[in-house]
Amino acid sequence: MSGQIDCKGFQDLILDYTEKELDSNQLKAFESHFTACPECMDYLNSYTLTIDFCKEKLSPEHFKQKMPPAVKKRICDFLKNLPEVSSVK
């Protein structure tokens, strides 16, 4: 990487930037660009806001759903009676 990127190049790197996957040269070029380009700075700002917002609102507690035991048993019994399953228990 030559050390300078344009807006298109900036766009191409933004996801890797948020995933912390840029190498040091890419990171330097990326940060140089957004500090010099207000449009890209705005764009990065709104992009990271979305990620942070989702992380804040989509907490793991919302997704600890489990199947009721009766449903689990019903499905498990169904699977154990499939033709592919041996009758030897």
Partner: protein
Amino acid sequence: MIKEAIKYNEEELVTQIKLGNPHAIETFFKQFSNKVFRLCMQYLKNEEEAYDMVQDVFATLIAKIHNFKGESKLSTWLYSMTVFSCIGYLRKRNKKNETSIDEVTQNDQSKHELFFSKDVGLDAEQYNPTSDDLINKEDYGVLYREIFNLPADYKAIFILKELERLSIKEIQDIVSISIPAIKTRLHRARLYLRKRLEVHFPEYAQKDNVRTN
């Protein structure tokens, strides 16, 4: 036989499932059923449909277990099957409201325009809220509804990355598409959600919060 004392490593589990061992199948189901159910709920948002999908996914995996070559983890194969089954089901169920990525992007002049134009390439008005999730101004409900309204291709990647918190590489193992394609879909999902969040939470959009790594 002391069934409860038997514990399988992955290789043994696969072997025993291939032999049709009911105890191995029960072990496998108990180990992964909650996670598969949660994944199904994130796509389908309907408990009864999710229960049916869990049953179908496990039954299909058991029927096709002889195709499993051990090149990935069994759980990866299972999650992959879950994701594609849910996507296929959603496509049939929501055919009117869905737009494929190709339809969305074919009118864009270039990626540059897509990223910088105010319209991120998706017309949010195309997507109608689901009938079983009425307008709910609680943040979580609103966000979840918008995620649910994503096109299936975007939603698949977004759920695996942002809800299941998998890495890009783990996602690739599940959905078997290239990493650039995964990144593109994730990126577009984020752009779409950004647009929708500006509508629902304008105060959030005004925050000055540039994150530096």
